[in-house]
Symmetry: C2
Subunit: 423 residues, 2 copies
């Protein structure tokens, strides 16, 4: 058992913060449901944790009688197989931890019998469908690994996070990340690799349109299972289309070639939704608002003759829009606000969140400025150009960001250092 200088019960904690990520070559379909092994490689952009991230504190104490977890302040069961797998795999790799200040030593073999408390918090609405499980599982595994002094590299850690939520493995790195599907039956080589860090291509601006949706959506777990079982197109996508696109996307990112990047990202998002539609029963994640956002972008890109913005949609109606620079992002923001103005009762501060400087670049300082926006030139002469008030709930302006970090500032911990319970 753990040795301790004094007889009083101690609590040891670690706190981590992990980003979310958005795939530009999509993961859809597993070849192994238990190990979460995908049928194709994928590529994602890590989003700035300042705007979209999970923070997790993991604590251990001989006083804890069982493993417990709180998500956004509410206790949730840890009994699910996915949580259990992550805990088990990290515990297996735990090492000796000693804290001289506290005068304690946790031996390697102690970890099997010690219980943990975990508290996790997303700095964005979980319900918004913004890959909260990716950030969450990445953060859980990253933080537990820190707590337990796991020595494996981030690639190996990502392979554990993958077993919590497939796309979580891509949140172990900043910048541009590839999830390589791997060949091994045990999944040991199905892990994330950083293609380039966040300093590689700093001009990119990301605007997320959070789309109001009343529809209950198909979970991605059951959705992709049904696609693999019933779509007549998914095999061709996974085996033929994606491998070719992976090479091109890696090249586009390496060369900061926005035109190729945008073309590939849009096509792959559309193809992912196409195979969802080809599923029986069909799965619809995009709605009329999503379609209108695509049409807005396609019309603008077409009128300029070269891509101004890329779009990609995950398993929900929200649009993730990527611009090559701030200037284009400001022009995009004008177009978005023109076509999707907020409801009267909304205030601008909560309608555009994140990096608000994009809003200033767009020359929008008040709700009145939105009302007075001119229709963009590419639709000016075409009637009707309707404004769809309230169809976008809010916008998040962000950028490509860094990978998981340990938060050493103890005031940021989500658990009380004495009780080990949520603050």
């Amino acid at each position: 058992m753990a040795e301790k200088g004094s007889e009083s019960e101690w609590v040891v904690m670690a706190t981590g913060r992990s980003p979310t990520n958005i795939a530009v070559i999509k993961y859809w379909g597993k070849r192994d449901e238990d190990l979460i092994l995908p049928i194709n490689d994928s590529i994602s952009l890590t989003l700035d944790p300042l705007h979209l991230s999970a923070t997790t504190t993991a604590a251990v104490s001989p006083g804890f009688s069982r493993d417990r977890m709180w998500l956004n302040g509410k206790e949730i069961p840890l009994s699910g197989e996915r949580y259990q797998k992550c805990l088990r795999e990290i515990r297996k790799r735990a090492n000796e931890v000693s804290d001289e200040k506290k005068g304690l030593k946790i031996k390697k073999e102690d970890w099997e019998s010690l219980h943990v408390h975990i508290s996790s918090y997303n700095n964005f609405p979980t319900a918004a469908g913004l890959a909260s499980s990716a950030a969450g599982f990445a953060c859980l595994v990253f933080t537990l690994a820190k707590l337990m002094n796991v020595k494996e590299d981030l690639g190996q850690i990502s392979s554990i996070a993958r077993q919590g939520s497939g796309s979580a493995c891509r949140s172990l790195f900043g910048g541009f990340v590839k999830w390589t599907m791997g060949n091994n039956a045990d999944g040991s080589d199905s892990l994330a690799i950083q293609l380039a860090d966040e300093a590689h291509w700093t001009d990119l601006v990301v605007i997320i349109a959070v789309v109001s949706s009343k529809q209950k959506e198909t979970s991605s777990t059951s959705g992709m299972r049904e696609t693999v079982q019933t779509s007549a197109l998914i095999k061709h996508r996974a085996e033929t289309v994606v491998p070719a696109r992976m090479l091109k996307m890696e090249e586009a990112i390496a060369n900061r070639d926005f035109a190729s990047f945008a073309k590939l990202a849009c096509s792959d998002s559309n193809q992912f939704h196409a195979v969802c539609l080809d599923t029986s029963p069909p799965i619809f994640y995009m709605n009329d608002t999503s379609h209108r956002i695509i049409n807005l972008v396609e019309k603008w890109n077409h009128s300029e003759g070269t891509p101004q913005v890329a779009y990609t949609f995950d398993a929900g109606p929200n649009a993730v829009l990527i611009s090559p620079n701030r200037k284009t992002a400001a022009l995009l923001m004008q177009r978005l606000l023109y076509q999707f103005p907020p409801n009267q009762e909304t205030d601008l501060t909560s309608f555009v969140v994140g990096d608000k400087s994009i809003l200033q670049d767009a020359g929008v300082r008040s709700m009145k400025d939105i009302e007075n926006l001119e229709p963009p030139t590419e639709i000016k002469d075409k009637v009707p150009h309707q404004r769809f008030t309230g169809d976008v709930s809010y916008f998040i302006c962000t950028r490509v960001g860094s990978g998981p970090k340990v938060l050493t500032d103890e005031t940021l911990a989500l658990l009380d250092p004495v009780t080990g319970l949520p603050k």
Copy 2:
């Protein structure tokens, strides 16, 4: 030149009526744009011309100075290549016509120099996106062939109609029709074949939900061109998926096997829309209302454990729903009216048109009855079950019907027998 008993100018006319059709294995993509040769076979149901058809009168007179055409009472140019092709191909096959009563004879060689007047009328809104061009071109070619005493069989005639509008070839027959893509470079073997006539499977009931849409839609001509050029999935669909489905669908129709029929029809409709989505830029024909209709059907089919209804969508948001019998159609009608009630100002007579007896079977005799409908059992316990008032403009109840017919009743002609101008 034509001989005539008297010196006064004569007019000879023929009037035909052709049905529209709805594909259950979809045609999408041409291998030859000029000849309109498809990249895969397709299968359709001919719909009852009583509810959905084109009527065309074609007239010839030495007094006509040029070819002219009127569509729904409005003169339209005949200069388009598709019209010209149909006229040319039919004229090539024209034969001697003699009318003893009128005492005239038109020689085979006369047809090249004689001009025609054509008037065509759809008994359903052209704008509703209900394959009006299929019925229209089928009727044009069928009626001109009658006028000019063309001896070729309907299969050969269908190959000419195909050059006006691809799917028009399938409107040359009643019942269940296959368009075989053919092999010949000149398109001579790309024609329609009747799989079974309308008497083969009389129980089927067809309900069309005409969905309100404000979006301008991509024309199917340019849409399918873009799909062939840009979709990474269309080739696999055309070469691998459709051939297998054709065999199964022919078998399902031969055996009146509704469960297989429904499964194939729904899957193929969804796959057609999937390849549209996989097009760059993506094409959206279905909207949120279309998706809701699909969800309604899928939920019901799932809860019953066996397909109650099949759905299929063409290049627009309208749903074509096929029930195996009147009893199921009445239950479907209740569900549709529950979820998509009419606006207050709509009257029931114009909200459900065609074979209104389905409405009586559904126990709906008034707007009040629609208001009072109970939610169907499969959604009863699930909240929210919203009613989407006004999202469906109207319903057409119809059935599988017969092929083109000559209308001998001269009062039905659309051209004046003396002037050769629209009545």
